[in-house]
Amino acid sequence: MTQAAIKTTGLRKSFGSNQVLKGIDLEVAEGTIFALLGPNGAGKTTMVHILSTLIRADAGLGTVAGHDLAKEPDAVRDAIGVTGQFSAVDNFLNGEENLMLMADLRHLSKANGRKRTAELLSRFDLVEAARKPVATYSGGMRRRLDLAMTLVSSPRIIFLDEPTTGLDPRSRRTMWQIIRELVADGVTIFLTTQYLEEADELADRIALLDHGRLIAEGTPAELKRMIPGGHISLEFASVEQLQAASAMLGGSQKDTDALTLQVPSDGGVGSIRDLLDRLDRGRVDVSSLTVHTPDLDDVFLALTGQPDGERATVS
């Protein structure tokens, strides 16, 4: 591992009596994408707030770009860019003015600022909207402008707090593409998300945050091995039908109250056809069928059987 871009030990934060972070140790290598994955309220945003110097930790150490968060916040601020969950654009200005504002605050020369603004407007497909007030922008455009503003100073480390939450699928793809391009240029990215798919798609390493603790950390492949597979859920009209199907399909779990049967499956078309064929031959009628692929719920369920899960490191 090269020098760590971000490193924390025992980071803690409480708001009043509510402990949001209960001692976080993590390390992010330079030039990689690190995803902090967790449900709402896990403490992801608080983590980003602390690492980006917006708020101070109660205890623990943190260094970003080799600078101590508590002692040299301005040195950290010079090295980082942050795109938060809530758009951090000036609604009273237009897109171009927002970017020029960032260029001025990053102390770029006027000529450099204009050049960088023009580059970013075209890179983020905002040339046409450049002179329109930001208040008229769509969600996707705001998010792109937001990220463009973060990139004005070419930061080496970028924090993205739920960069695709609330975006339509196409805008989401565009955002992923942009993130990949950034890493190709050697930038380190610290990303938070509540989508397993997104972390899987983008990250070199993923850490799972739950109730203020890291409960697992590893590469996407390592984490997936810890997750149970998907299943097919079958619903029946009567208990008799359910019993018949249950007897036919070994390894399935039945719920007599809901008249459903859960059959482990990869959810592929072949296995669904095979399953239905078998039920057909046994003359069992299925009233409905749903395919369930593993998601964040499954991961958390698998890892946090108990309420306050112990930390498990995969390596």
Binding site: T53, R56, V82, A88, L105
Partner: protein
């Protein structure tokens, strides 16, 4: 670049941002001028006849227009304070302030941008009100130096009141609360020598009126522009202005440096 030149550059950038806001959405500045103008018209044309006669001597509506103008100017300053508190509170609720906090910029520049923007707005408002007052009978007899001194006095109290309202905008949790907090300032010219001389008030009210910060300011401005006696009011007014500015600047700075999420 040194810290000082960064401070100047960042403050200028923030000022430019605030001036753009003011120019693009001129509802607030229009209100800030509209309210004192309405007060002025009301007090001169509706109440001015009676109040003017009450000033003693052979005075009437025309003399009252001159008497009341310094009070109306302070109403303008107080009204601007409300606007500043609202715009600071609104700004603090925006995501972009969080972005500024994660950037290596001169930290108070967000505040100085607001202060200088409001200051320019207030001074422009005062100039307009003086113009309107002169149209309806305000007859100052001041020399150029006295005009300059009066402008300086109003600038000092404006600066003080603006820092106070910036702190109000920071300390409140909502825009509504921020707009209410500086409201009592509007009453200060009434509870002082703005509309009637303080010696016509009951002793308890008069005591408050004589010792509150707006009275020496109004007396100083009145003395400079109309030639009435100033006495020790000039020093008192300067002391109040400087004192309020320093205390509120430190308070606002402390409020801004708190963790934004608590």
């Amino acid at each position: 670049m040194s810290t000082l030149s960064y401070a100047v550059r960042d403050s200028t950038t923030m000022l430019r941002r605030n001036l753009k806001h003011i120019l693009r959405y001129p509802v607030m500045p229009l209100m800030l001028i509209g309210i004192p103008v309405i007060f002025l018209l009301l007090f001169v044309y509706v109440l001015g006849g009676t109040l003017g006669a009450g000033l003693g001597g052979a005075s009437g509506r025309a003399e009252y227009a001159s008497y009341v103008t310094p009070g109306i100017l302070l109403i303008t300053v107080a009204g601007a304070a409300q606007g500043t508190a609202i715009s600071v509170a609104m700004d603090m609720a925006e995501g972009i302030i969080a972005r500024f906090r994660t950037m290596a910029i001169f930290r108070p520049s967000v505040l100085t941008g607001h202060v200088i923007g409001s200051f320019i707005q207030t001074m422009a408002g005062l100039a307009i009100i003086v113009g309107v007052a002169m149209l309806i009978g305000f007859r100052p007899n001041a020399t150029a130096i006295e005009w300059l001194a009066a402008a300086g006095m109003l600038a000092m109290i404006s600066f003080a009141v603006i820092w106070f309202s910036v702190a109000c905008g920071l300390v409140t949790k909502s825009v509504e609360a921020a707009s209410n907090l500086p409201m009592p300032l509007i009453l200060l010219p009434f509870l002082g020598s703005g509309f009637v001389p303080t010696d016509s008030m009951p002793s308890g009210v008069a005591a408050f009126a004589d010792y509150q910060p707006f009275t020496p300011v109004m007396e100083t401005v009145r003395g400079l522009l109309l030639g009435t006696g100033i006495g020790h009011n000039a020093w008192l007014a300067v002391a109040w202005s400087v004192g309020i500015t320093v205390v509120c600047y430190l308070w606002a700075k402390k409020l801004y440096n708190r963790d934004p999420i608590r």
